[in-house]
Subunit: 317 residues, 2 copies
Protein backbone atom coordinates (compact mmCIF):
# COMPACT_ATOMS: atom_id res chain seq x y z
CA UNK A 1 0.00 0.00 0.00
CA UNK A 2 2.84 2.40 0.86
CA UNK A 3 3.61 2.87 -2.82
CA UNK A 4 0.07 4.10 -3.56
CA UNK A 5 -0.82 6.56 -0.81
CA UNK A 6 1.50 9.06 0.83
CA UNK A 7 0.62 10.98 3.97
CA UNK A 8 1.33 14.55 4.98
CA UNK A 9 4.60 13.68 6.77
CA UNK A 10 6.00 11.89 3.74
CA UNK A 11 4.92 14.75 1.48
CA UNK A 12 6.46 17.36 3.79
CA UNK A 13 9.77 15.48 3.68
CA UNK A 14 9.64 15.29 -0.12
CA UNK A 15 9.00 19.04 -0.31
CA UNK A 16 12.25 19.88 1.50
CA UNK A 17 14.63 21.53 -0.96
CA UNK A 18 12.33 20.80 -3.88
CA UNK A 19 12.35 23.54 -6.55
CA UNK A 20 8.71 24.22 -7.38
CA UNK A 21 9.05 27.51 -9.22
CA UNK A 22 10.49 25.92 -12.37
CA UNK A 23 7.89 23.13 -12.78
CA UNK A 24 4.95 25.41 -11.96
CA UNK A 25 6.23 28.04 -14.40
CA UNK A 26 6.41 25.27 -17.00
CA UNK A 27 2.83 24.32 -16.16
CA UNK A 28 1.60 27.88 -16.75
CA UNK A 29 3.55 28.05 -20.02
CA UNK A 30 2.15 24.74 -21.31
CA UNK A 31 -1.32 25.93 -20.32
CA UNK A 32 -1.03 29.24 -22.17
CA UNK A 33 0.52 27.52 -25.20
CA UNK A 34 -2.53 25.24 -25.41
CA UNK A 35 -0.47 22.15 -24.55
CA UNK A 36 -2.67 21.08 -21.66
CA UNK A 37 -6.21 19.86 -21.18
CA UNK A 38 -7.92 21.56 -18.24
CA UNK A 39 -11.72 21.12 -18.14
CA UNK A 40 -13.90 23.53 -16.14
CA UNK A 41 -13.53 23.29 -12.36
CA UNK A 42 -15.90 20.86 -10.62
CA UNK A 43 -17.56 22.29 -7.52
CA UNK A 44 -19.63 21.21 -4.52
CA UNK A 45 -21.10 23.81 -2.18
CA UNK A 46 -22.34 23.07 1.36
CA UNK A 47 -24.54 25.20 3.59
CA UNK A 48 -24.50 23.72 7.03
CA UNK A 49 -21.73 23.87 8.00
CA UNK A 50 -20.63 26.12 5.13
CA UNK A 51 -17.93 24.69 2.90
CA UNK A 52 -16.84 24.25 -0.66
CA UNK A 53 -14.97 21.62 -2.62
CA UNK A 54 -13.11 22.25 -5.84
CA UNK A 55 -12.12 19.47 -8.23
CA UNK A 56 -9.38 20.60 -10.59
CA UNK A 57 -8.04 18.10 -13.09
CA UNK A 58 -6.38 17.56 -16.40
CA UNK A 59 -3.06 16.78 -18.01
CA UNK A 60 -0.11 18.20 -19.92
CA UNK A 61 -0.36 16.63 -23.38
CA UNK A 62 3.28 15.55 -23.47
CA UNK A 63 3.20 14.05 -19.95
CA UNK A 64 2.62 10.43 -18.96
CA UNK A 65 -0.13 11.02 -16.44
CA UNK A 66 -3.26 12.89 -15.49
CA UNK A 67 -4.02 14.41 -12.11
CA UNK A 68 -7.25 15.02 -10.24
CA UNK A 69 -7.07 17.38 -7.28
CA UNK A 70 -9.79 17.57 -4.66
CA UNK A 71 -9.48 20.50 -2.25
CA UNK A 72 -11.98 21.71 0.31
CA UNK A 73 -12.45 24.76 2.50
CA UNK A 74 -14.60 24.47 5.63
CA UNK A 75 -14.16 27.78 7.50
CA UNK A 76 -15.89 26.62 10.69
CA UNK A 77 -13.25 23.89 11.17
CA UNK A 78 -11.27 26.66 12.87
CA UNK A 79 -13.62 26.60 15.85
CA UNK A 80 -13.10 22.85 16.18
CA UNK A 81 -9.32 23.19 16.14
CA UNK A 82 -9.24 21.53 12.69
CA UNK A 83 -7.57 22.75 9.52
CA UNK A 84 -9.99 24.64 7.26
CA UNK A 85 -8.40 23.41 4.04
CA UNK A 86 -8.24 19.73 3.20
CA UNK A 87 -8.03 17.31 0.31
CA UNK A 88 -5.77 15.17 -1.81
CA UNK A 89 -4.17 14.77 -5.23
CA UNK A 90 -4.58 11.61 -7.33
CA UNK A 91 -2.30 10.73 -10.22
CA UNK A 92 -3.04 8.10 -12.89
CA UNK A 93 -1.07 6.69 -15.82
CA UNK A 94 -2.30 8.37 -19.01
CA UNK A 95 -1.61 5.21 -21.04
CA UNK A 96 -3.67 2.78 -18.97
CA UNK A 97 -5.75 4.57 -16.33
CA UNK A 98 -3.81 2.76 -13.58
CA UNK A 99 -3.39 4.60 -10.28
CA UNK A 100 0.11 5.96 -9.71
CA UNK A 101 -0.40 7.60 -6.32
CA UNK A 102 -2.68 9.35 -3.88
CA UNK A 103 -0.98 12.29 -2.19
CA UNK A 104 -3.03 12.79 0.97
CA UNK A 105 -1.64 16.28 1.45
CA UNK A 106 -4.67 17.54 3.43
CA UNK A 107 -4.80 20.62 1.20
CA UNK A 108 -1.16 21.55 1.84
CA UNK A 109 0.00 21.20 -1.79
CA UNK A 110 -2.82 23.50 -2.90
CA UNK A 111 -1.66 26.06 -0.34
CA UNK A 112 1.95 25.77 -1.56
CA UNK A 113 1.25 25.88 -5.30
CA UNK A 114 -0.83 29.02 -4.66
CA UNK A 115 2.09 30.54 -2.77
CA UNK A 116 4.44 29.63 -5.62
CA UNK A 117 2.12 31.24 -8.18
CA UNK A 118 2.27 34.46 -6.11
CA UNK A 119 6.07 34.28 -6.10
CA UNK A 120 6.09 33.79 -9.90
CA UNK A 121 3.90 36.88 -10.33
CA UNK A 122 6.31 38.91 -8.17
CA UNK A 123 9.31 37.54 -10.09
CA UNK A 124 7.97 38.83 -13.41
CA UNK A 125 5.89 41.86 -12.40
CA UNK A 126 7.11 43.41 -9.14
CA UNK A 127 9.13 46.65 -9.28
CA UNK A 128 12.90 46.09 -9.25
CA UNK A 129 13.27 47.74 -5.87
CA UNK A 130 10.77 46.41 -3.36
CA UNK A 131 10.57 48.83 -0.37
CA UNK A 132 8.23 46.78 1.69
CA UNK A 133 5.96 43.82 1.11
CA UNK A 134 2.32 44.45 2.10
CA UNK A 135 0.23 41.48 3.17
CA UNK A 136 -3.53 41.69 3.53
CA UNK A 137 -4.81 38.91 5.75
CA UNK A 138 -3.23 36.69 8.42
CA UNK A 139 -4.37 33.18 7.42
CA UNK A 140 -2.66 30.26 5.70
CA UNK A 141 -2.13 32.10 2.40
CA UNK A 142 -0.79 35.20 4.17
CA UNK A 143 1.92 32.91 5.52
CA UNK A 144 2.46 30.92 2.37
CA UNK A 145 2.76 33.97 0.12
CA UNK A 146 5.40 35.57 2.32
CA UNK A 147 7.34 32.31 2.62
CA UNK A 148 7.32 31.83 -1.15
CA UNK A 149 8.21 35.46 -1.90
CA UNK A 150 11.51 34.79 -0.11
CA UNK A 151 12.35 32.49 -3.05
CA UNK A 152 12.34 35.43 -5.48
CA UNK A 153 13.01 38.54 -3.37
CA UNK A 154 15.49 39.58 -0.68
CA UNK A 155 13.06 42.05 0.85
CA UNK A 156 12.35 41.16 4.50
CA UNK A 157 10.39 44.29 5.46
CA UNK A 158 6.72 43.57 5.73
CA UNK A 159 3.58 45.49 6.67
CA UNK A 160 0.49 43.47 7.49
CA UNK A 161 -3.18 44.35 7.80
CA UNK A 162 -5.40 41.90 9.68
CA UNK A 163 -8.98 42.07 10.86
CA UNK A 164 -8.25 41.28 14.49
CA UNK A 165 -5.29 42.05 16.70
CA UNK A 166 -4.86 38.55 18.11
CA UNK A 167 -4.45 36.92 14.70
CA UNK A 168 -2.23 39.76 13.50
CA UNK A 169 0.05 39.45 16.55
CA UNK A 170 0.27 35.70 16.01
CA UNK A 171 1.10 36.21 12.34
CA UNK A 172 3.82 38.75 13.17
CA UNK A 173 5.23 36.43 15.81
CA UNK A 174 5.30 33.41 13.48
CA UNK A 175 6.71 35.18 10.45
CA UNK A 176 9.35 37.01 12.53
CA UNK A 177 10.79 33.62 13.38
CA UNK A 178 11.28 33.07 9.66
CA UNK A 179 13.46 36.18 9.41
CA UNK A 180 10.92 38.79 8.37
CA UNK A 181 10.65 42.24 10.01
CA UNK A 182 6.96 42.91 10.40
CA UNK A 183 4.90 45.92 11.34
CA UNK A 184 1.10 46.03 11.63
CA UNK A 185 -0.83 48.78 9.85
CA UNK A 186 -4.34 50.05 10.54
CA UNK A 187 -5.75 50.60 7.09
CA UNK A 188 -5.25 49.54 3.52
CA UNK A 189 -4.38 53.19 2.77
CA UNK A 190 -1.46 52.94 5.19
CA UNK A 191 -0.51 49.55 3.73
CA UNK A 192 -0.46 51.00 0.21
CA UNK A 193 1.55 54.03 1.31
CA UNK A 194 4.31 51.82 2.73
CA UNK A 195 4.44 48.76 0.45
CA UNK A 196 4.97 48.56 -3.30
CA UNK A 197 4.52 44.78 -3.53
CA UNK A 198 1.13 43.85 -2.14
CA UNK A 199 -0.49 40.45 -1.82
CA UNK A 200 -4.16 40.13 -0.85
CA UNK A 201 -5.04 36.80 0.77
CA UNK A 202 -8.47 37.22 2.35
CA UNK A 203 -11.87 35.72 1.66
CA UNK A 204 -13.48 39.20 1.53
CA UNK A 205 -16.56 39.73 -0.61
CA UNK A 206 -16.19 43.53 -0.76
CA UNK A 207 -13.18 45.57 -1.93
CA UNK A 208 -10.49 46.11 0.73
CA UNK A 209 -8.16 48.26 -1.38
CA UNK A 210 -9.46 51.36 -3.16
CA UNK A 211 -8.10 52.85 -6.33
CA UNK A 212 -7.21 56.10 -4.51
CA UNK A 213 -5.00 54.25 -2.00
CA UNK A 214 -2.61 52.94 -4.63
CA UNK A 215 0.73 54.54 -5.41
CA UNK A 216 2.41 54.48 -8.81
CA UNK A 217 4.88 51.65 -9.20
CA UNK A 218 2.94 49.17 -7.09
CA UNK A 219 2.35 45.54 -7.95
CA UNK A 220 -0.64 43.74 -6.45
CA UNK A 221 -1.22 39.99 -6.56
CA UNK A 222 -4.84 39.16 -5.67
CA UNK A 223 -4.91 35.62 -4.35
CA UNK A 224 -8.02 35.48 -2.19
CA UNK A 225 -10.88 35.69 -4.63
CA UNK A 226 -11.49 32.46 -6.52
CA UNK A 227 -15.29 32.26 -6.60
CA UNK A 228 -18.14 34.35 -8.01
CA UNK A 229 -18.73 36.04 -4.67
CA UNK A 230 -15.26 36.86 -3.37
CA UNK A 231 -13.64 40.23 -4.08
CA UNK A 232 -10.67 42.06 -2.55
CA UNK A 233 -9.91 44.90 -4.97
CA UNK A 234 -11.82 47.97 -6.11
CA UNK A 235 -12.47 46.97 -9.74
CA UNK A 236 -11.20 50.43 -10.82
CA UNK A 237 -7.72 49.21 -9.83
CA UNK A 238 -7.94 46.69 -12.69
CA UNK A 239 -9.00 49.51 -15.00
CA UNK A 240 -6.07 51.80 -14.18
CA UNK A 241 -3.50 48.96 -14.12
CA UNK A 242 -0.83 49.34 -16.80
CA UNK A 243 -0.80 45.56 -17.05
CA UNK A 244 -3.41 43.05 -15.85
CA UNK A 245 -2.18 39.47 -15.69
CA UNK A 246 -4.43 36.49 -14.96
CA UNK A 247 -3.51 32.86 -14.36
CA UNK A 248 -6.27 31.67 -16.71
CA UNK A 249 -8.32 33.90 -18.98
CA UNK A 250 -11.22 31.45 -19.17
CA UNK A 251 -11.38 30.99 -15.38
CA UNK A 252 -10.93 34.68 -14.58
CA UNK A 253 -13.86 35.59 -16.82
CA UNK A 254 -15.96 33.39 -14.51
CA UNK A 255 -14.53 34.11 -11.03
CA UNK A 256 -12.42 36.53 -9.04
CA UNK A 257 -11.49 40.21 -9.43
CA UNK A 258 -11.40 40.15 -13.23
CA UNK A 259 -14.98 38.93 -13.50
CA UNK A 260 -16.18 41.84 -11.32
CA UNK A 261 -14.35 44.41 -13.46
CA UNK A 262 -15.64 42.80 -16.68
CA UNK A 263 -19.19 42.78 -15.29
CA UNK A 264 -18.89 46.53 -14.68
CA UNK A 265 -17.48 47.09 -18.17
CA UNK A 266 -14.31 48.58 -16.69
CA UNK A 267 -11.88 46.40 -18.62
CA UNK A 268 -11.73 44.69 -21.99
CA UNK A 269 -11.16 40.94 -21.92
CA UNK A 270 -8.89 41.31 -24.95
CA UNK A 271 -6.39 43.17 -22.78
CA UNK A 272 -5.97 40.32 -20.30
CA UNK A 273 -2.51 38.75 -20.37
CA UNK A 274 -2.11 35.16 -19.24
CA UNK A 275 0.66 34.41 -16.72
CA UNK A 276 2.05 31.63 -18.94
CA UNK A 277 2.56 34.16 -21.72
CA UNK A 278 4.38 36.53 -19.35
CA UNK A 279 6.73 33.71 -18.30
CA UNK A 280 7.16 32.50 -21.89
CA UNK A 281 7.84 35.96 -23.29
CA UNK A 282 11.22 37.54 -23.80
CA UNK A 283 9.79 40.99 -23.06
CA UNK A 284 8.96 42.48 -19.69
CA UNK A 285 5.30 43.24 -19.05
CA UNK A 286 6.30 45.89 -16.50
CA UNK A 287 7.36 48.72 -18.81
CA UNK A 288 8.54 51.18 -16.15
CA UNK A 289 9.11 51.44 -12.42
CA UNK A 290 6.02 53.66 -12.29
CA UNK A 291 3.66 51.06 -13.75
CA UNK A 292 0.84 49.69 -11.67
CA UNK A 293 0.62 45.96 -12.33
CA UNK A 294 -2.05 43.55 -11.10
CA UNK A 295 -2.08 39.74 -11.12
CA UNK A 296 -5.38 37.99 -10.49
CA UNK A 297 -5.03 34.35 -9.45
CA UNK A 298 -7.86 31.81 -9.27
CA UNK A 299 -5.75 28.63 -9.25
CA UNK A 300 -5.34 26.45 -12.33
CA UNK A 301 -5.17 22.65 -12.53
CA UNK A 302 -1.73 22.83 -14.22
CA UNK A 303 -0.33 24.00 -10.86
CA UNK A 304 -1.80 20.91 -9.20
CA UNK A 305 -0.54 18.67 -11.98
CA UNK A 306 3.01 20.03 -11.79
CA UNK A 307 3.33 19.99 -7.99
CA UNK A 308 1.95 16.44 -7.88
CA UNK A 309 4.47 15.38 -10.53
CA UNK A 310 7.35 17.03 -8.69
CA UNK A 311 6.46 15.52 -5.30
CA UNK A 312 5.74 12.07 -6.79
CA UNK A 313 9.11 11.98 -8.59
CA UNK A 314 10.91 12.95 -5.38
CA UNK A 315 9.03 10.30 -3.39
CA UNK A 316 9.88 7.63 -5.95
CA UNK A 317 13.61 8.46 -6.02
CA UNK B 1 -2.72 4.11 6.56
CA UNK B 2 -4.89 1.00 6.47
CA UNK B 3 -7.87 2.97 7.69
CA UNK B 4 -7.69 5.40 4.76
CA UNK B 5 -7.11 3.29 1.65
CA UNK B 6 -8.62 -0.11 0.91
CA UNK B 7 -7.46 -2.35 -1.92
CA UNK B 8 -9.36 -4.58 -4.27
CA UNK B 9 -9.02 -7.69 -2.06
CA UNK B 10 -10.40 -5.92 1.00
CA UNK B 11 -13.25 -4.48 -1.08
CA UNK B 12 -14.06 -7.89 -2.58
CA UNK B 13 -14.31 -9.36 0.91
CA UNK B 14 -16.59 -6.55 2.05
CA UNK B 15 -18.85 -7.11 -0.97
CA UNK B 16 -19.56 -10.74 0.02
CA UNK B 17 -23.17 -11.02 1.10
CA UNK B 18 -23.66 -7.26 0.96
CA UNK B 19 -27.14 -6.20 -0.19
CA UNK B 20 -26.61 -3.48 -2.79
CA UNK B 21 -30.06 -3.40 -4.36
CA UNK B 22 -31.67 -1.63 -1.41
CA UNK B 23 -29.08 1.17 -1.00
CA UNK B 24 -28.79 1.79 -4.73
CA UNK B 25 -32.58 1.90 -5.07
CA UNK B 26 -32.57 4.45 -2.25
CA UNK B 27 -29.93 6.44 -4.15
CA UNK B 28 -32.10 6.58 -7.28
CA UNK B 29 -35.13 7.60 -5.20
CA UNK B 30 -33.26 10.39 -3.40
CA UNK B 31 -31.95 11.57 -6.76
CA UNK B 32 -35.39 11.69 -8.38
CA UNK B 33 -36.89 13.36 -5.29
CA UNK B 34 -34.30 16.13 -5.59
CA UNK B 35 -32.62 15.15 -2.32
CA UNK B 36 -29.15 14.82 -3.82
CA UNK B 37 -26.59 17.14 -5.37
CA UNK B 38 -25.07 15.65 -8.53
CA UNK B 39 -23.16 18.15 -10.71
CA UNK B 40 -22.51 17.42 -14.39
CA UNK B 41 -20.05 14.59 -15.07
CA UNK B 42 -16.39 15.61 -15.40
CA UNK B 43 -14.62 14.05 -18.36
CA UNK B 44 -11.13 13.59 -19.80
CA UNK B 45 -10.67 12.10 -23.26
CA UNK B 46 -7.40 10.61 -24.56
CA UNK B 47 -6.43 9.81 -28.13
CA UNK B 48 -3.26 7.80 -28.03
CA UNK B 49 -3.88 5.30 -26.64
CA UNK B 50 -7.63 5.94 -26.69
CA UNK B 51 -9.26 6.22 -23.28
CA UNK B 52 -11.75 8.16 -21.25
CA UNK B 53 -12.09 9.12 -17.62
CA UNK B 54 -15.35 10.04 -15.94
CA UNK B 55 -15.52 11.91 -12.66
CA UNK B 56 -18.89 11.49 -10.99
CA UNK B 57 -19.48 13.14 -7.64
CA UNK B 58 -21.95 14.57 -5.24
CA UNK B 59 -23.87 13.81 -2.09
CA UNK B 60 -27.23 12.84 -0.63
CA UNK B 61 -28.36 15.90 1.30
CA UNK B 62 -29.23 13.95 4.46
CA UNK B 63 -25.96 11.96 4.45
CA UNK B 64 -22.78 12.74 6.35
CA UNK B 65 -20.37 12.53 3.45
CA UNK B 66 -19.65 13.33 -0.18
CA UNK B 67 -18.13 10.96 -2.72
CA UNK B 68 -15.97 11.53 -5.78
CA UNK B 69 -15.66 8.61 -8.18
CA UNK B 70 -12.94 8.46 -10.82
CA UNK B 71 -13.41 5.68 -13.39
CA UNK B 72 -11.48 5.11 -16.59
CA UNK B 73 -11.85 2.96 -19.69
CA UNK B 74 -8.74 2.22 -21.77
CA UNK B 75 -9.84 -0.39 -24.37
CA UNK B 76 -6.31 -1.18 -25.57
CA UNK B 77 -5.35 -2.41 -22.08
CA UNK B 78 -6.87 -5.68 -23.25
CA UNK B 79 -3.94 -6.29 -25.57
CA UNK B 80 -1.54 -5.75 -22.70
CA UNK B 81 -3.33 -8.23 -20.47
CA UNK B 82 -4.52 -5.37 -18.25
CA UNK B 83 -8.04 -4.53 -17.13
CA UNK B 84 -9.71 -1.95 -19.37
CA UNK B 85 -11.65 -0.33 -16.55
CA UNK B 86 -9.90 1.26 -13.60
CA UNK B 87 -10.30 3.88 -10.93
CA UNK B 88 -11.23 4.58 -7.36
CA UNK B 89 -13.85 6.10 -5.05
CA UNK B 90 -13.01 8.79 -2.48
CA UNK B 91 -15.27 9.63 0.45
CA UNK B 92 -15.00 12.77 2.59
CA UNK B 93 -16.80 14.01 5.70
CA UNK B 94 -19.44 16.55 4.63
CA UNK B 95 -19.00 18.48 7.90
CA UNK B 96 -15.25 19.07 7.70
CA UNK B 97 -13.84 18.01 4.33
CA UNK B 98 -11.70 15.36 6.07
CA UNK B 99 -10.91 12.20 4.09
CA UNK B 100 -12.87 9.15 5.22
CA UNK B 101 -11.52 6.60 2.77
CA UNK B 102 -10.12 5.81 -0.65
CA UNK B 103 -11.61 2.64 -2.11
CA UNK B 104 -9.05 1.56 -4.70
CA UNK B 105 -11.55 -0.70 -6.41
CA UNK B 106 -9.81 -0.54 -9.82
CA UNK B 107 -13.19 0.21 -11.43
CA UNK B 108 -14.87 -2.86 -9.93
CA UNK B 109 -17.46 -0.95 -7.88
CA UNK B 110 -18.49 0.96 -11.01
CA UNK B 111 -18.95 -2.36 -12.80
CA UNK B 112 -21.05 -3.71 -9.92
CA UNK B 113 -23.25 -0.67 -9.37
CA UNK B 114 -23.98 -0.72 -13.13
CA UNK B 115 -24.95 -4.39 -12.87
CA UNK B 116 -27.18 -3.61 -9.87
CA UNK B 117 -28.92 -0.80 -11.79
CA UNK B 118 -29.69 -3.33 -14.55
CA UNK B 119 -31.15 -5.71 -11.98
CA UNK B 120 -33.28 -2.92 -10.53
CA UNK B 121 -34.64 -2.13 -14.01
CA UNK B 122 -35.55 -5.80 -14.50
CA UNK B 123 -37.14 -5.98 -11.05
CA UNK B 124 -39.57 -3.16 -11.87
CA UNK B 125 -40.01 -3.44 -15.65
CA UNK B 126 -39.39 -7.00 -16.90
CA UNK B 127 -42.38 -9.16 -17.83
CA UNK B 128 -43.58 -11.45 -15.03
CA UNK B 129 -42.57 -14.55 -16.93
CA UNK B 130 -39.08 -14.33 -18.32
CA UNK B 131 -38.60 -17.02 -21.02
CA UNK B 132 -34.98 -16.35 -21.66
CA UNK B 133 -32.53 -13.59 -20.88
CA UNK B 134 -30.78 -12.15 -23.95
CA UNK B 135 -27.33 -10.65 -23.50
CA UNK B 136 -25.68 -8.56 -26.18
CA UNK B 137 -21.92 -8.48 -25.67
CA UNK B 138 -19.43 -10.70 -23.84
CA UNK B 139 -17.36 -8.21 -21.81
CA UNK B 140 -17.32 -7.23 -18.15
CA UNK B 141 -20.86 -5.78 -18.17
CA UNK B 142 -22.24 -8.82 -20.00
CA UNK B 143 -21.03 -10.86 -17.03
CA UNK B 144 -22.01 -8.37 -14.35
CA UNK B 145 -25.55 -7.89 -15.67
CA UNK B 146 -26.25 -11.62 -15.73
CA UNK B 147 -24.77 -12.11 -12.28
CA UNK B 148 -26.90 -9.27 -10.85
CA UNK B 149 -30.07 -10.42 -12.64
CA UNK B 150 -29.84 -13.60 -10.56
CA UNK B 151 -30.63 -11.37 -7.55
CA UNK B 152 -34.07 -10.52 -8.92
CA UNK B 153 -34.98 -13.38 -11.30
CA UNK B 154 -34.95 -17.19 -11.20
CA UNK B 155 -34.51 -17.46 -14.97
CA UNK B 156 -31.28 -19.29 -15.83
CA UNK B 157 -31.84 -19.65 -19.60
CA UNK B 158 -29.69 -17.25 -21.54
CA UNK B 159 -29.01 -16.50 -25.19
CA UNK B 160 -25.90 -14.47 -25.98
CA UNK B 161 -24.74 -12.59 -29.06
CA UNK B 162 -21.04 -11.75 -29.32
CA UNK B 163 -18.90 -10.34 -32.08
CA UNK B 164 -16.34 -13.14 -32.08
CA UNK B 165 -16.60 -16.83 -31.35
CA UNK B 166 -13.66 -17.07 -28.99
CA UNK B 167 -15.00 -14.42 -26.60
CA UNK B 168 -18.51 -15.85 -26.84
CA UNK B 169 -17.27 -19.36 -26.02
CA UNK B 170 -15.31 -18.02 -23.07
CA UNK B 171 -18.38 -16.11 -21.86
CA UNK B 172 -20.58 -19.19 -22.12
CA UNK B 173 -17.96 -21.27 -20.34
CA UNK B 174 -17.57 -18.77 -17.48
CA UNK B 175 -21.26 -18.07 -16.96
CA UNK B 176 -22.19 -21.78 -17.15
CA UNK B 177 -20.06 -22.29 -14.06
CA UNK B 178 -22.32 -19.82 -12.29
CA UNK B 179 -25.36 -21.98 -13.01
CA UNK B 180 -26.68 -20.39 -16.20
CA UNK B 181 -27.69 -22.39 -19.28
CA UNK B 182 -26.35 -20.51 -22.25
CA UNK B 183 -26.81 -20.76 -25.99
CA UNK B 184 -25.11 -18.55 -28.59
CA UNK B 185 -27.22 -16.88 -31.27
CA UNK B 186 -26.14 -15.49 -34.65
CA UNK B 187 -28.15 -12.31 -34.95
CA UNK B 188 -30.00 -9.79 -32.87
CA UNK B 189 -33.17 -10.93 -34.67
CA UNK B 190 -32.65 -14.43 -33.30
CA UNK B 191 -31.82 -13.00 -29.87
CA UNK B 192 -35.05 -11.00 -29.85
CA UNK B 193 -37.11 -13.98 -31.01
CA UNK B 194 -35.92 -16.08 -28.07
CA UNK B 195 -35.50 -13.65 -25.16
CA UNK B 196 -38.01 -11.28 -23.59
CA UNK B 197 -35.56 -9.68 -21.14
CA UNK B 198 -32.66 -8.21 -23.07
CA UNK B 199 -29.60 -6.37 -21.80
CA UNK B 200 -27.25 -4.61 -24.23
CA UNK B 201 -23.71 -4.17 -22.89
CA UNK B 202 -21.54 -3.22 -25.87
CA UNK B 203 -19.61 -0.08 -26.81
CA UNK B 204 -21.27 0.00 -30.27
CA UNK B 205 -21.72 3.32 -32.03
CA UNK B 206 -24.41 2.05 -34.42
CA UNK B 207 -27.71 0.32 -33.60
CA UNK B 208 -27.43 -3.44 -33.01
CA UNK B 209 -31.14 -4.10 -32.42
CA UNK B 210 -33.75 -2.94 -34.94
CA UNK B 211 -37.32 -2.01 -34.19
CA UNK B 212 -38.57 -4.85 -36.47
CA UNK B 213 -36.68 -7.48 -34.45
CA UNK B 214 -38.54 -6.76 -31.22
CA UNK B 215 -41.46 -8.84 -29.97
CA UNK B 216 -44.30 -7.50 -27.87
CA UNK B 217 -43.78 -7.98 -24.15
CA UNK B 218 -40.02 -7.48 -24.25
CA UNK B 219 -38.02 -5.41 -21.82
CA UNK B 220 -34.65 -4.00 -22.89
CA UNK B 221 -32.09 -2.42 -20.60
CA UNK B 222 -29.49 -0.48 -22.59
CA UNK B 223 -26.33 -0.30 -20.51
CA UNK B 224 -23.55 0.22 -23.04
CA UNK B 225 -24.09 3.73 -24.33
CA UNK B 226 -23.00 6.42 -21.91
CA UNK B 227 -21.34 8.98 -24.21
CA UNK B 228 -22.44 11.18 -27.11
CA UNK B 229 -21.10 8.69 -29.65
CA UNK B 230 -22.22 5.30 -28.36
CA UNK B 231 -25.50 3.74 -29.49
CA UNK B 232 -26.90 0.19 -29.31
CA UNK B 233 -30.61 0.58 -30.12
CA UNK B 234 -32.52 1.67 -33.20
CA UNK B 235 -33.97 4.97 -31.88
CA UNK B 236 -37.40 3.87 -33.18
CA UNK B 237 -37.42 1.31 -30.38
CA UNK B 238 -37.56 4.20 -27.91
CA UNK B 239 -40.43 5.67 -29.92
CA UNK B 240 -42.59 2.52 -29.88
CA UNK B 241 -41.78 1.68 -26.25
CA UNK B 242 -44.85 1.75 -24.01
CA UNK B 243 -42.62 3.03 -21.25
CA UNK B 244 -39.17 4.61 -21.51
CA UNK B 245 -37.27 4.79 -18.22
CA UNK B 246 -33.97 6.61 -17.77
CA UNK B 247 -31.62 6.68 -14.79
CA UNK B 248 -31.25 10.48 -15.05
CA UNK B 249 -33.30 12.72 -17.30
CA UNK B 250 -30.65 15.46 -17.38
CA UNK B 251 -27.84 13.02 -18.24
CA UNK B 252 -29.88 11.05 -20.80
CA UNK B 253 -30.70 14.25 -22.68
CA UNK B 254 -26.93 14.64 -23.16
CA UNK B 255 -25.72 11.05 -23.73
CA UNK B 256 -26.84 7.56 -24.66
CA UNK B 257 -29.84 6.15 -26.54
CA UNK B 258 -32.30 8.78 -25.35
CA UNK B 259 -30.23 11.63 -26.71
CA UNK B 260 -30.17 10.00 -30.19
CA UNK B 261 -33.95 9.55 -30.20
CA UNK B 262 -34.48 13.13 -28.98
CA UNK B 263 -32.10 14.45 -31.66
CA UNK B 264 -34.22 12.69 -34.29
CA UNK B 265 -37.44 14.07 -32.78
CA UNK B 266 -38.74 10.56 -32.20
CA UNK B 267 -39.59 11.01 -28.55
CA UNK B 268 -40.74 13.82 -26.27
CA UNK B 269 -38.54 14.51 -23.26
CA UNK B 270 -41.68 15.08 -21.19
CA UNK B 271 -42.48 11.39 -21.52
CA UNK B 272 -39.24 10.23 -19.93
CA UNK B 273 -39.70 8.51 -16.58
CA UNK B 274 -36.83 8.54 -14.10
CA UNK B 275 -35.87 5.21 -12.51
CA UNK B 276 -36.10 6.71 -9.02
CA UNK B 277 -39.73 7.59 -9.68
CA UNK B 278 -40.46 4.03 -10.86
CA UNK B 279 -38.95 2.64 -7.64
CA UNK B 280 -40.67 5.25 -5.49
CA UNK B 281 -44.08 4.76 -7.09
CA UNK B 282 -46.82 2.48 -5.88
CA UNK B 283 -47.98 1.82 -9.45
CA UNK B 284 -46.37 -0.44 -12.03
CA UNK B 285 -44.95 1.23 -15.10
CA UNK B 286 -45.40 -2.02 -17.06
CA UNK B 287 -49.15 -1.91 -17.71
CA UNK B 288 -49.48 -5.28 -19.46
CA UNK B 289 -47.48 -8.37 -20.35
CA UNK B 290 -47.55 -7.14 -23.96
CA UNK B 291 -45.85 -3.82 -23.21
CA UNK B 292 -42.46 -3.06 -24.65
CA UNK B 293 -40.40 -1.33 -21.96
CA UNK B 294 -36.97 0.24 -22.33
CA UNK B 295 -34.54 1.40 -19.67
CA UNK B 296 -31.64 3.62 -20.73
CA UNK B 297 -28.77 3.76 -18.23
CA UNK B 298 -25.87 6.21 -18.31
CA UNK B 299 -24.69 5.79 -14.73
CA UNK B 300 -25.46 8.35 -12.04
CA UNK B 301 -23.22 9.53 -9.17
CA UNK B 302 -25.85 8.45 -6.60
CA UNK B 303 -24.99 4.83 -7.47
CA UNK B 304 -21.33 5.52 -6.71
CA UNK B 305 -22.22 7.37 -3.53
CA UNK B 306 -24.44 4.55 -2.27
CA UNK B 307 -22.08 1.65 -3.10
CA UNK B 308 -19.16 3.53 -1.51
CA UNK B 309 -21.25 4.11 1.61
CA UNK B 310 -22.29 0.45 1.79
CA UNK B 311 -18.77 -0.91 1.31
CA UNK B 312 -17.23 1.62 3.70
CA UNK B 313 -19.73 0.77 6.45
CA UNK B 314 -19.02 -2.94 6.01
CA UNK B 315 -15.26 -2.35 6.10
CA UNK B 316 -15.57 -0.29 9.29
CA UNK B 317 -17.68 -2.88 11.11
Amino acid sequence: MSSLIYNRNQIDKALKGLDLIKPIEKGFVEYSRGNSIVPPVGELIFDNPPGDVHIKYGYIKSDENYVIKIASGFPKNNFLGLSTSHGLMVMFDKNSGYLKCVLHDEGHLTDIRTGIAGAICAKYLAPKRINKIGILGTGIQARMQLECLALVSDCKDVVVLGRNKKNTDKYIDDMSKMGFLLEPVNSSKELCSKANLIVTTTSATKPLINEGDLRKGTHITAVGSDTHEKQELDPNILKIADCLVVDSISQCLERGETKKAIDENLIDKNNLVELGLVIDSKISYRKSENDITVADLTGVAVQDIMITNAVYNKLKN
